[in-house]
Protein backbone atom coordinates (compact mmCIF):
# COMPACT_ATOMS: atom_id res chain seq x y z
CA UNK A 1 0.00 0.00 0.00
CA UNK A 2 0.91 3.63 -0.15
CA UNK A 3 3.68 4.63 2.17
CA UNK A 4 2.69 8.27 1.98
CA UNK A 5 -0.42 10.36 2.51
CA UNK A 6 -2.92 11.02 -0.22
CA UNK A 7 -1.82 14.30 -1.86
CA UNK A 8 1.52 14.23 -0.02
CA UNK A 9 0.54 16.48 2.91
CA UNK A 10 -0.72 14.98 6.16
CA UNK A 11 -4.38 15.48 6.97
CA UNK A 12 -3.93 18.09 9.68
CA UNK A 13 -1.78 20.22 7.39
CA UNK A 14 -4.41 20.06 4.69
CA UNK A 15 -7.07 20.95 7.21
CA UNK A 16 -5.13 24.00 8.34
CA UNK A 17 -4.65 25.15 4.76
CA UNK A 18 -8.33 24.62 3.98
CA UNK A 19 -9.25 26.71 7.02
CA UNK A 20 -7.02 29.51 5.74
CA UNK A 21 -8.70 29.18 2.33
CA UNK A 22 -12.16 29.41 3.91
CA UNK A 23 -11.19 32.53 5.78
CA UNK A 24 -9.72 34.01 2.60
CA UNK A 25 -12.97 33.32 0.73
CA UNK A 26 -14.93 34.95 3.54
CA UNK A 27 -12.81 38.13 3.32
CA UNK A 28 -12.15 38.68 -0.41
CA UNK A 29 -8.69 40.14 -1.06
CA UNK A 30 -7.48 39.80 2.52
CA UNK A 31 -4.17 38.00 2.98
CA UNK A 32 -4.60 35.15 5.46
CA UNK A 33 -1.36 33.94 7.06
CA UNK A 34 -0.81 30.18 7.11
CA UNK A 35 1.95 27.80 8.13
CA UNK A 36 3.58 27.06 4.80
CA UNK A 37 4.73 23.41 4.75
CA UNK A 38 7.98 21.96 3.52
CA UNK A 39 7.55 20.32 0.13
CA UNK A 40 9.84 18.37 -2.18
CA UNK A 41 10.28 21.59 -4.20
CA UNK A 42 11.90 24.79 -3.04
CA UNK A 43 9.88 27.71 -1.76
CA UNK A 44 9.38 30.29 -4.47
CA UNK A 45 8.74 27.58 -7.07
CA UNK A 46 4.99 27.44 -6.72
CA UNK A 47 4.72 25.94 -3.24
CA UNK A 48 1.86 28.25 -2.26
CA UNK A 49 -0.29 27.19 -5.17
CA UNK A 50 0.76 23.58 -4.77
CA UNK A 51 -0.23 23.46 -1.11
CA UNK A 52 -3.70 24.81 -1.94
CA UNK A 53 -4.04 22.28 -4.77
CA UNK A 54 -2.89 19.39 -2.59
CA UNK A 55 -5.19 20.31 0.27
CA UNK A 56 -8.25 20.68 -1.99
CA UNK A 57 -7.76 17.86 -4.49
CA UNK A 58 -10.13 14.88 -4.22
CA UNK A 59 -10.18 11.56 -6.06
CA UNK A 60 -12.75 12.76 -8.61
CA UNK A 61 -10.92 15.95 -9.53
CA UNK A 62 -9.35 16.57 -12.89
CA UNK A 63 -6.32 18.78 -12.68
CA UNK A 64 -4.65 21.11 -15.13
CA UNK A 65 -1.32 22.78 -14.42
CA UNK A 66 -0.03 25.67 -16.49
CA UNK A 67 3.09 27.77 -16.31
CA UNK A 68 2.89 31.12 -18.10
CA UNK A 69 0.21 29.77 -20.37
CA UNK A 70 1.94 26.50 -21.18
CA UNK A 71 0.92 23.00 -20.11
CA UNK A 72 4.22 21.59 -21.27
CA UNK A 73 6.92 23.65 -19.56
CA UNK A 74 9.25 21.84 -17.15
CA UNK A 75 7.65 23.43 -14.08
CA UNK A 76 4.11 22.65 -15.15
CA UNK A 77 4.99 19.04 -15.97
CA UNK A 78 6.91 18.50 -12.73
CA UNK A 79 4.15 19.92 -10.56
CA UNK A 80 1.52 17.91 -12.41
CA UNK A 81 3.59 14.72 -12.01
CA UNK A 82 3.97 15.34 -8.29
CA UNK A 83 0.24 15.85 -7.84
CA UNK A 84 -0.62 12.78 -9.93
CA UNK A 85 1.95 10.51 -8.29
CA UNK A 86 0.59 11.29 -4.85
CA UNK A 87 -3.12 11.23 -5.76
CA UNK A 88 -3.67 9.24 -9.00
CA UNK A 89 -6.17 11.84 -10.17
CA UNK A 90 -6.78 12.48 -13.84
CA UNK A 91 -5.22 15.40 -15.62
CA UNK A 92 -6.13 17.35 -18.71
CA UNK A 93 -4.88 20.23 -20.80
CA UNK A 94 -8.42 21.34 -21.65
CA UNK A 95 -9.54 24.23 -19.50
CA UNK A 96 -13.23 23.30 -19.79
CA UNK A 97 -12.62 19.75 -18.47
CA UNK A 98 -10.51 20.68 -15.45
CA UNK A 99 -11.96 21.08 -11.96
CA UNK A 100 -8.73 22.39 -10.40
CA UNK A 101 -6.40 24.57 -12.44
CA UNK A 102 -3.08 25.52 -10.91
CA UNK A 103 -1.46 28.33 -12.82
CA UNK A 104 1.58 30.52 -12.79
CA UNK A 105 1.22 34.08 -14.13
CA UNK A 106 -1.73 33.57 -16.51
CA UNK A 107 -5.50 33.23 -16.43
CA UNK A 108 -6.58 30.86 -19.24
CA UNK A 109 -8.08 32.37 -22.40
CA UNK A 110 -11.00 29.94 -22.26
CA UNK A 111 -13.55 31.60 -19.92
CA UNK A 112 -13.91 29.73 -16.63
CA UNK A 113 -17.24 28.46 -15.39
CA UNK A 114 -19.01 27.87 -12.11
CA UNK A 115 -17.57 25.08 -9.99
CA UNK A 116 -14.04 25.44 -11.31
CA UNK A 117 -11.21 26.56 -9.02
CA UNK A 118 -8.29 28.55 -10.37
CA UNK A 119 -5.22 28.42 -8.11
CA UNK A 120 -2.58 31.05 -8.73
CA UNK A 121 1.02 30.80 -7.54
CA UNK A 122 2.05 34.03 -5.84
CA UNK A 123 5.63 35.26 -5.48
CA UNK A 124 4.87 38.58 -3.72
CA UNK A 125 1.44 38.85 -2.13
CA UNK A 126 1.80 42.36 -0.69
CA UNK A 127 0.75 45.11 -3.13
CA UNK A 128 2.11 47.82 -0.83
CA UNK A 129 5.52 46.23 -0.32
CA UNK A 130 7.45 48.48 -2.68
CA UNK A 131 6.29 51.58 -0.84
CA UNK A 132 6.38 50.16 2.70
CA UNK A 133 8.95 47.52 3.63
CA UNK A 134 7.54 46.77 7.09
CA UNK A 135 4.93 43.98 7.32
CA UNK A 136 3.68 45.43 10.61
CA UNK A 137 2.94 48.70 8.87
CA UNK A 138 1.39 47.24 5.71
CA UNK A 139 -1.01 45.19 7.86
CA UNK A 140 -2.06 48.41 9.54
CA UNK A 141 -2.46 50.19 6.20
CA UNK A 142 -4.76 47.39 4.98
CA UNK A 143 -6.75 47.58 8.21
CA UNK A 144 -7.24 51.31 7.76
CA UNK A 145 -7.84 50.93 4.01
CA UNK A 146 -5.04 53.44 3.44
CA UNK A 147 -3.94 52.69 -0.08
CA UNK A 148 -2.25 55.96 -0.99
CA UNK A 149 1.00 53.97 -1.33
CA UNK A 150 -0.39 51.87 -4.18
CA UNK A 151 -1.74 54.96 -5.88
CA UNK A 152 1.54 56.75 -5.35
CA UNK A 153 3.38 53.98 -7.19
CA UNK A 154 1.04 54.40 -10.18
CA UNK A 155 1.50 58.17 -10.05
CA UNK A 156 5.27 57.77 -10.01
CA UNK A 157 5.05 55.50 -13.09
CA UNK A 158 3.00 58.11 -14.92
CA UNK A 159 5.53 60.78 -13.87
CA UNK A 160 8.51 58.78 -15.11
CA UNK A 161 7.11 56.92 -18.11
CA UNK A 162 3.95 58.80 -19.04
CA UNK A 163 1.74 55.78 -18.33
CA UNK A 164 1.17 53.01 -15.81
CA UNK A 165 4.33 50.93 -16.13
CA UNK A 166 3.18 47.84 -14.27
CA UNK A 167 4.07 45.16 -16.81
CA UNK A 168 2.31 42.59 -14.69
CA UNK A 169 0.87 42.45 -11.19
CA UNK A 170 -1.13 45.65 -11.68
CA UNK A 171 -2.90 46.14 -8.32
CA UNK A 172 -6.64 45.57 -8.11
CA UNK A 173 -9.32 46.72 -5.68
CA UNK A 174 -11.35 43.75 -4.50
CA UNK A 175 -14.96 43.98 -3.34
CA UNK A 176 -14.52 47.72 -2.65
CA UNK A 177 -12.33 46.92 0.35
CA UNK A 178 -8.86 45.42 -0.12
CA UNK A 179 -6.14 46.30 -2.61
CA UNK A 180 -4.68 43.01 -3.83
CA UNK A 181 -1.73 41.85 -5.91
CA UNK A 182 -3.21 39.75 -8.73
CA UNK A 183 0.20 37.98 -8.97
CA UNK A 184 2.28 38.73 -12.04
CA UNK A 185 -0.50 38.04 -14.53
CA UNK A 186 -0.27 40.46 -17.46
CA UNK A 187 -2.62 43.44 -17.31
CA UNK A 188 -4.36 41.65 -20.19
CA UNK A 189 -5.77 39.15 -17.66
CA UNK A 190 -6.83 41.67 -14.97
CA UNK A 191 -10.35 42.21 -16.35
CA UNK A 192 -10.88 38.40 -16.27
CA UNK A 193 -10.83 38.53 -12.46
CA UNK A 194 -13.90 40.77 -12.34
CA UNK A 195 -17.14 38.86 -11.70
CA UNK A 196 -15.54 35.60 -12.74
CA UNK A 197 -17.87 32.60 -12.19
CA UNK A 198 -14.94 30.48 -10.90
CA UNK A 199 -13.35 30.59 -7.46
CA UNK A 200 -9.85 32.07 -7.58
CA UNK A 201 -7.36 31.21 -4.86
CA UNK A 202 -3.92 32.73 -4.43
CA UNK A 203 -1.14 30.96 -2.54
CA UNK A 204 2.23 32.41 -1.57
CA UNK A 205 4.36 29.59 -0.13
CA UNK A 206 7.48 31.58 0.63
CA UNK A 207 5.55 34.54 2.08
CA UNK A 208 3.09 32.21 3.85
CA UNK A 209 -0.11 33.93 2.71
CA UNK A 210 -3.35 32.76 1.12
CA UNK A 211 -5.99 35.05 -0.36
CA UNK A 212 -9.02 34.63 -2.56
CA UNK A 213 -11.47 36.16 -5.00
CA UNK A 214 -14.78 34.30 -4.63
CA UNK A 215 -17.02 33.78 -7.69
CA UNK A 216 -18.76 36.88 -9.03
CA UNK A 217 -16.72 39.33 -6.94
CA UNK A 218 -16.14 42.89 -8.08
CA UNK A 219 -12.48 43.38 -9.01
CA UNK A 220 -11.35 46.76 -10.34
CA UNK A 221 -7.86 47.58 -11.59
CA UNK A 222 -6.50 50.73 -9.96
CA UNK A 223 -6.34 53.71 -12.33
CA UNK A 224 -6.50 57.49 -12.11
CA UNK A 225 -9.55 59.23 -13.58
CA UNK A 226 -7.57 60.84 -16.39
CA UNK A 227 -5.31 57.82 -17.01
CA UNK A 228 -7.71 54.90 -17.47
CA UNK A 229 -6.53 51.32 -17.01
CA UNK A 230 -5.29 49.72 -20.23
CA UNK A 231 -4.55 46.14 -21.13
CA UNK A 232 -1.54 45.29 -23.25
CA UNK A 233 -2.56 45.99 -26.82
CA UNK A 234 -1.46 44.04 -29.84
CA UNK A 235 -2.57 46.43 -32.54
CA UNK A 236 -2.15 44.97 -36.01
CA UNK A 237 -0.61 41.79 -34.63
CA UNK A 238 -2.07 38.33 -34.70
CA UNK A 239 -1.13 34.77 -33.92
CA UNK A 240 0.97 33.25 -36.70
CA UNK A 241 -0.64 29.84 -36.38
CA UNK A 242 -4.27 30.65 -35.72
CA UNK A 243 -4.75 34.23 -36.85
CA UNK A 244 -6.33 34.97 -33.45
CA UNK A 245 -6.24 38.62 -32.35
CA UNK A 246 -8.08 38.80 -29.03
CA UNK A 247 -5.60 36.68 -27.10
CA UNK A 248 -2.38 37.34 -25.22
CA UNK A 249 0.47 36.96 -27.73
CA UNK A 250 4.10 35.94 -27.25
CA UNK A 251 6.65 37.77 -29.33
CA UNK A 252 9.07 35.31 -30.92
CA UNK A 253 11.96 35.61 -33.31
CA UNK A 254 12.49 33.20 -36.17
CA UNK A 255 16.11 32.19 -35.69
CA UNK A 256 16.68 31.44 -39.36
CA UNK A 257 15.31 34.63 -40.84
CA UNK A 258 15.46 36.95 -37.81
CA UNK A 259 11.82 37.78 -38.43
CA UNK A 260 9.58 38.73 -35.49
CA UNK A 261 6.32 36.82 -35.22
CA UNK A 262 3.56 36.36 -32.69
CA UNK A 263 1.93 33.30 -31.25
CA UNK A 264 -0.91 32.63 -28.81
CA UNK A 265 0.59 32.32 -25.33
CA UNK A 266 -2.05 29.93 -23.97
CA UNK A 267 -0.81 26.62 -25.43
CA UNK A 268 -3.96 24.56 -24.81
CA UNK A 269 -6.17 27.25 -26.29
CA UNK A 270 -3.90 27.29 -29.32
CA UNK A 271 -4.08 23.50 -29.73
CA UNK A 272 -7.82 23.41 -29.26
CA UNK A 273 -8.21 26.07 -31.90
CA UNK A 274 -6.00 24.22 -34.38
CA UNK A 275 -7.78 20.89 -33.74
CA UNK A 276 -11.28 22.32 -33.84
CA UNK A 277 -12.06 21.07 -37.36
CA UNK A 278 -10.47 17.64 -37.18
CA UNK A 279 -11.79 16.35 -33.90
CA UNK A 280 -15.15 18.10 -34.08
CA UNK A 281 -16.98 17.83 -30.79
CA UNK A 282 -14.07 16.90 -28.57
CA UNK A 283 -13.25 20.48 -27.66
Amino acid sequence: MHERHFAFLDESSKKEIRRAVLKAVAIPGYQVPFASRELPIARGWGTGGLQITLSLVGKDDIIKVIDQGSDESVNAVSLRNLIQETTDVASTIHTTEATLIQTRHRVPEQPLKEGQILILQVPLPEPLRNVEPSEYKTKKLHAEADYSGAWLKLFEDIMCYGQAATGADHPVFVNDRYVMAPTPIPRFDNPKLDHNPALMLFGAGREKKIYAVPPYTKVVSLAFDDYPFQRERFVGKKCRLTGLENVYLDELIDEATGEVYYQTNDSSYLLEFLNRDEGAGTV
Binding site: K140, E144, D146, W151
Partner: protein
Protein backbone atom coordinates in the same frame (compact mmCIF):
# COMPACT_ATOMS: atom_id res chain seq x y z
CA UNK B 1 -13.58 94.77 25.20
CA UNK B 2 -13.86 93.28 21.73
CA UNK B 3 -14.70 89.64 21.17
CA UNK B 4 -11.75 87.41 22.01
CA UNK B 5 -10.33 85.38 19.15
CA UNK B 6 -10.51 81.62 19.60
CA UNK B 7 -7.27 79.67 19.22
CA UNK B 8 -7.20 77.28 16.25
CA UNK B 9 -5.05 74.76 18.12
CA UNK B 10 -5.28 73.94 21.79
CA UNK B 11 -3.11 71.46 23.64
CA UNK B 12 -3.90 70.72 27.29
CA UNK B 13 -1.77 68.85 29.82
CA UNK B 14 0.04 66.80 27.22
CA UNK B 15 2.29 64.06 28.62
CA UNK B 16 4.55 61.66 26.80
CA UNK B 17 6.52 59.04 28.68
CA UNK B 18 8.76 56.27 27.45
CA UNK B 19 8.63 53.46 29.99
CA UNK B 20 6.10 52.18 32.50
CA UNK B 21 6.89 54.37 35.50
CA UNK B 22 7.14 53.08 39.06
CA UNK B 23 5.91 53.91 42.56
CA UNK B 24 8.84 56.27 42.93
CA UNK B 25 8.08 58.52 39.95
CA UNK B 26 4.38 58.01 39.08
CA UNK B 27 2.59 61.26 39.76
CA UNK B 28 5.56 62.57 41.74
CA UNK B 29 7.40 65.02 39.49
CA UNK B 30 9.62 66.03 42.44
CA UNK B 31 11.20 62.57 42.36
CA UNK B 32 12.09 62.78 38.68
CA UNK B 33 15.52 64.02 37.83
CA UNK B 34 15.83 66.05 34.61
CA UNK B 35 12.88 64.36 33.01
CA UNK B 36 13.60 60.79 33.94
CA UNK B 37 13.18 58.53 36.92
CA UNK B 38 16.49 57.48 38.49
CA UNK B 39 14.88 54.23 39.76
CA UNK B 40 12.97 52.75 36.82
CA UNK B 41 14.62 54.84 34.09
CA UNK B 42 11.27 55.90 32.65
CA UNK B 43 11.76 58.98 30.49
CA UNK B 44 9.25 61.78 30.95
CA UNK B 45 9.81 63.42 27.57
CA UNK B 46 6.93 65.88 27.80
CA UNK B 47 5.28 66.83 31.07
CA UNK B 48 2.02 68.78 31.41
CA UNK B 49 2.52 70.79 28.23
CA UNK B 50 -0.31 73.21 27.49
CA UNK B 51 -0.22 75.63 24.62
CA UNK B 52 -2.44 77.37 22.11
CA UNK B 53 -1.93 78.69 18.62
CA UNK B 54 -3.96 81.47 17.02
CA UNK B 55 -4.88 82.17 13.40
CA UNK B 56 -1.94 83.57 11.44
CA UNK B 57 0.43 83.35 14.37
CA UNK B 58 3.95 81.93 14.52
CA UNK B 59 4.90 80.37 17.82
CA UNK B 60 8.51 79.40 18.40
CA UNK B 61 9.55 76.58 20.71
CA UNK B 62 13.15 76.72 21.90
CA UNK B 63 15.14 74.54 24.23
CA UNK B 64 18.23 72.38 24.33
CA UNK B 65 18.50 68.94 22.70
CA UNK B 66 16.44 66.42 24.63
CA UNK B 67 14.06 68.98 26.07
CA UNK B 68 11.08 67.32 24.37
CA UNK B 69 10.54 69.68 21.43
CA UNK B 70 10.49 67.07 18.70
CA UNK B 71 8.50 64.61 20.83
CA UNK B 72 5.88 67.31 21.14
CA UNK B 73 5.82 67.89 17.38
CA UNK B 74 5.58 64.18 16.62
CA UNK B 75 2.60 63.82 18.92
CA UNK B 76 0.90 66.81 17.31
CA UNK B 77 1.39 65.18 13.89
CA UNK B 78 0.28 61.76 15.23
CA UNK B 79 3.64 60.18 14.46
CA UNK B 80 3.69 58.91 18.03
CA UNK B 81 0.91 58.33 20.49
CA UNK B 82 0.37 60.70 23.41
CA UNK B 83 0.49 59.17 26.87
CA UNK B 84 -2.15 61.58 28.09
CA UNK B 85 -3.55 64.98 27.31
CA UNK B 86 -6.11 66.72 25.15
CA UNK B 87 -5.64 68.07 21.64
CA UNK B 88 -8.22 70.20 19.85
CA UNK B 89 -8.27 71.80 16.43
CA UNK B 90 -10.84 74.47 15.69
CA UNK B 91 -11.15 73.16 12.10
CA UNK B 92 -12.07 69.66 13.29
CA UNK B 93 -15.58 69.32 14.77
CA UNK B 94 -15.30 72.94 15.98
CA UNK B 95 -12.56 71.93 18.38
CA UNK B 96 -14.85 69.80 20.50
CA UNK B 97 -13.24 66.40 19.97
CA UNK B 98 -10.02 65.36 21.67
CA UNK B 99 -7.88 64.25 18.74
CA UNK B 100 -5.64 62.07 20.89
CA UNK B 101 -8.67 59.83 21.42
CA UNK B 102 -9.83 59.82 17.78
CA UNK B 103 -9.46 56.75 15.58
CA UNK B 104 -6.29 56.47 13.59
CA UNK B 105 -8.28 56.99 10.38
CA UNK B 106 -9.56 60.32 11.68
CA UNK B 107 -6.08 61.23 12.82
CA UNK B 108 -4.83 60.47 9.32
CA UNK B 109 -7.48 62.72 7.83
CA UNK B 110 -6.46 65.56 10.13
CA UNK B 111 -2.82 64.94 9.30
CA UNK B 112 -3.51 65.11 5.57
CA UNK B 113 -5.99 67.95 5.49
CA UNK B 114 -5.25 70.26 8.40
CA UNK B 115 -1.55 69.84 9.12
CA UNK B 116 1.69 70.18 7.21
CA UNK B 117 4.92 68.91 8.70
CA UNK B 118 8.53 69.64 7.85
CA UNK B 119 10.96 67.35 9.62
CA UNK B 120 14.50 68.18 10.62
CA UNK B 121 15.61 65.09 8.72
CA UNK B 122 14.19 65.03 5.16
CA UNK B 123 14.47 61.22 5.24
CA UNK B 124 11.51 61.23 7.65
CA UNK B 125 9.28 63.44 5.53
CA UNK B 126 10.10 62.35 1.99
CA UNK B 127 10.20 59.15 -0.01
CA UNK B 128 13.77 59.49 -1.18
CA UNK B 129 13.39 57.24 -4.24
CA UNK B 130 10.21 58.79 -5.57
CA UNK B 131 10.26 61.90 -7.75
CA UNK B 132 9.77 65.33 -6.18
CA UNK B 133 6.40 65.55 -7.94
CA UNK B 134 5.25 62.24 -6.48
CA UNK B 135 6.33 63.29 -3.02
CA UNK B 136 4.11 66.35 -3.24
CA UNK B 137 1.29 64.35 -4.84
CA UNK B 138 1.38 61.83 -1.99
CA UNK B 139 -0.49 64.27 0.26
CA UNK B 140 -3.08 64.98 -2.43
CA UNK B 141 -3.55 61.27 -3.18
CA UNK B 142 -4.04 60.64 0.52
CA UNK B 143 -6.71 63.34 0.47
CA UNK B 144 -8.55 61.39 -2.24
CA UNK B 145 -7.41 63.18 -5.42
CA UNK B 146 -7.49 60.81 -8.40
CA UNK B 147 -6.73 63.35 -11.18
CA UNK B 148 -3.15 63.18 -12.39
CA UNK B 149 -3.26 66.43 -14.33
CA UNK B 150 -4.56 68.58 -11.51
CA UNK B 151 -1.99 67.10 -9.11
CA UNK B 152 0.87 67.71 -11.53
CA UNK B 153 -0.29 71.28 -12.04
CA UNK B 154 -0.46 71.90 -8.32
CA UNK B 155 2.94 70.25 -7.84
CA UNK B 156 4.49 72.50 -10.46
CA UNK B 157 3.06 75.60 -8.81
CA UNK B 158 4.39 74.56 -5.42
CA UNK B 159 7.83 73.65 -6.76
CA UNK B 160 8.04 77.05 -8.40
CA UNK B 161 7.07 78.72 -5.15
CA UNK B 162 9.87 76.98 -3.29
CA UNK B 163 12.30 77.80 -6.09
CA UNK B 164 13.00 74.34 -7.43
CA UNK B 165 13.56 74.43 -11.18
CA UNK B 166 10.86 72.46 -12.96
CA UNK B 167 13.38 70.52 -15.03
CA UNK B 168 14.21 68.69 -11.80
CA UNK B 169 10.63 67.85 -10.81
CA UNK B 170 11.02 64.23 -11.89
CA UNK B 171 14.27 63.76 -9.99
CA UNK B 172 14.12 62.02 -6.65
CA UNK B 173 15.07 63.95 -3.50
CA UNK B 174 18.00 61.59 -3.00
CA UNK B 175 19.65 63.53 -5.83
CA UNK B 176 18.92 66.90 -4.24
CA UNK B 177 21.02 69.03 -1.92
CA UNK B 178 19.96 69.34 1.73
CA UNK B 179 18.43 72.76 1.18
CA UNK B 180 16.46 71.56 -1.83
CA UNK B 181 15.21 68.54 0.10
CA UNK B 182 13.97 70.89 2.81
CA UNK B 183 12.18 72.98 0.19
CA UNK B 184 10.52 69.89 -1.31
CA UNK B 185 9.32 69.07 2.21
CA UNK B 186 7.86 72.55 2.52
CA UNK B 187 6.13 72.20 -0.85
CA UNK B 188 4.73 68.84 0.25
CA UNK B 189 3.53 70.28 3.55
CA UNK B 190 1.66 72.98 1.64
CA UNK B 191 0.06 70.61 -0.91
CA UNK B 192 -3.41 70.57 0.64
CA UNK B 193 -3.20 74.18 1.92
CA UNK B 194 -3.34 73.19 5.58
CA UNK B 195 -4.15 75.95 8.09
CA UNK B 196 -1.36 74.80 10.41
CA UNK B 197 2.30 74.10 9.66
CA UNK B 198 4.58 72.21 12.03
CA UNK B 199 8.23 73.00 11.37
CA UNK B 200 10.79 70.96 13.25
CA UNK B 201 14.28 72.44 13.04
CA UNK B 202 13.85 73.26 9.37
CA UNK B 203 17.13 75.09 9.00
CA UNK B 204 19.37 73.03 11.24
CA UNK B 205 22.29 71.60 9.32
CA UNK B 206 21.94 73.96 6.38
CA UNK B 207 24.62 76.49 5.54
CA UNK B 208 23.93 80.13 6.34
CA UNK B 209 22.92 81.35 2.88
CA UNK B 210 20.57 78.41 2.38
CA UNK B 211 19.20 78.95 5.90
CA UNK B 212 18.37 82.55 4.99
CA UNK B 213 16.71 81.30 1.79
CA UNK B 214 14.50 78.80 3.57
CA UNK B 215 13.57 81.25 6.32
CA UNK B 216 12.66 83.93 3.81
CA UNK B 217 10.52 81.39 1.97
CA UNK B 218 8.67 80.43 5.15
CA UNK B 219 8.09 84.07 6.00
CA UNK B 220 6.78 84.79 2.51
CA UNK B 221 4.45 81.82 2.48
CA UNK B 222 3.13 82.68 5.90
CA UNK B 223 2.41 86.29 4.87
CA UNK B 224 0.61 85.20 1.73
CA UNK B 225 -1.44 82.39 3.19
CA UNK B 226 -1.82 83.47 6.79
CA UNK B 227 -0.96 79.98 8.01
CA UNK B 228 -0.37 79.40 11.66
CA UNK B 229 3.04 77.95 12.34
CA UNK B 230 4.51 76.04 15.24
CA UNK B 231 8.24 76.32 14.85
CA UNK B 232 10.75 74.28 16.78
CA UNK B 233 14.35 75.39 16.85
CA UNK B 234 17.29 75.50 19.12
CA UNK B 235 18.58 78.46 17.14
CA UNK B 236 17.44 81.63 18.89
CA UNK B 237 18.09 83.85 15.90
CA UNK B 238 15.64 81.82 13.79
CA UNK B 239 13.01 82.23 16.46
CA UNK B 240 13.79 85.92 16.88
CA UNK B 241 13.32 86.44 13.15
CA UNK B 242 10.09 84.49 12.71
CA UNK B 243 8.16 83.95 15.91
CA UNK B 244 5.52 86.23 17.42
CA UNK B 245 5.47 84.29 20.66
CA UNK B 246 8.10 82.02 22.14
CA UNK B 247 7.92 79.02 24.44
CA UNK B 248 11.02 77.82 26.28
CA UNK B 249 11.26 74.15 27.16
CA UNK B 250 13.61 72.37 29.56
CA UNK B 251 13.54 68.70 30.57
CA UNK B 252 10.10 68.17 29.06
CA UNK B 253 8.45 71.19 30.67
CA UNK B 254 7.53 74.68 29.58
CA UNK B 255 9.54 76.96 31.82
CA UNK B 256 8.80 80.29 30.23
CA UNK B 257 6.57 81.76 27.54
CA UNK B 258 5.66 85.15 26.22
CA UNK B 259 6.14 87.55 23.34
CA UNK B 260 9.37 86.75 21.56
CA UNK B 261 10.93 90.16 22.23
CA UNK B 262 9.97 89.96 25.87
CA UNK B 263 11.40 86.49 26.36
CA UNK B 264 14.62 87.21 24.55
CA UNK B 265 15.20 90.72 25.92
CA UNK B 266 14.12 90.14 29.47
CA UNK B 267 14.38 86.43 30.28
CA UNK B 268 13.04 85.49 33.72
CA UNK B 269 14.00 81.86 34.18
CA UNK B 270 17.69 81.19 34.94
CA UNK B 271 17.88 78.67 32.09
CA UNK B 272 16.45 81.14 29.56
CA UNK B 273 18.88 83.75 30.80
CA UNK B 274 21.73 81.36 30.26
CA UNK B 275 20.38 80.44 26.80
CA UNK B 276 20.01 84.05 25.71
CA UNK B 277 23.39 85.18 27.04
CA UNK B 278 25.25 82.30 25.53
CA UNK B 279 24.38 83.64 22.09
CA UNK B 280 27.55 84.41 20.21
Amino acid sequence: MSEQQKPILILKDFNKTFGKGCAHCDGKPENRRQGYCPKCRTVYACQDISLSLYQGEIVGIVGESGSGKSTLMQALYFDSEATSGEYFLEAYHSGEENLFLSSSQQQKWVRNMLLGMVYQNPMMGLKMNFSAQSNIAEKMIAAGNRQVHSMVERGDTLLEQVHIPLIRRKDSPSHFSGGMQQRVQIAKALANEPPILLLDEVTTGLDLSVQADVLELIQKIQRERKNSILLVSHDLSVVRMLADRTIVMLNGRIIEEGLTDQVLEDPQHPYTQQLVYSLL
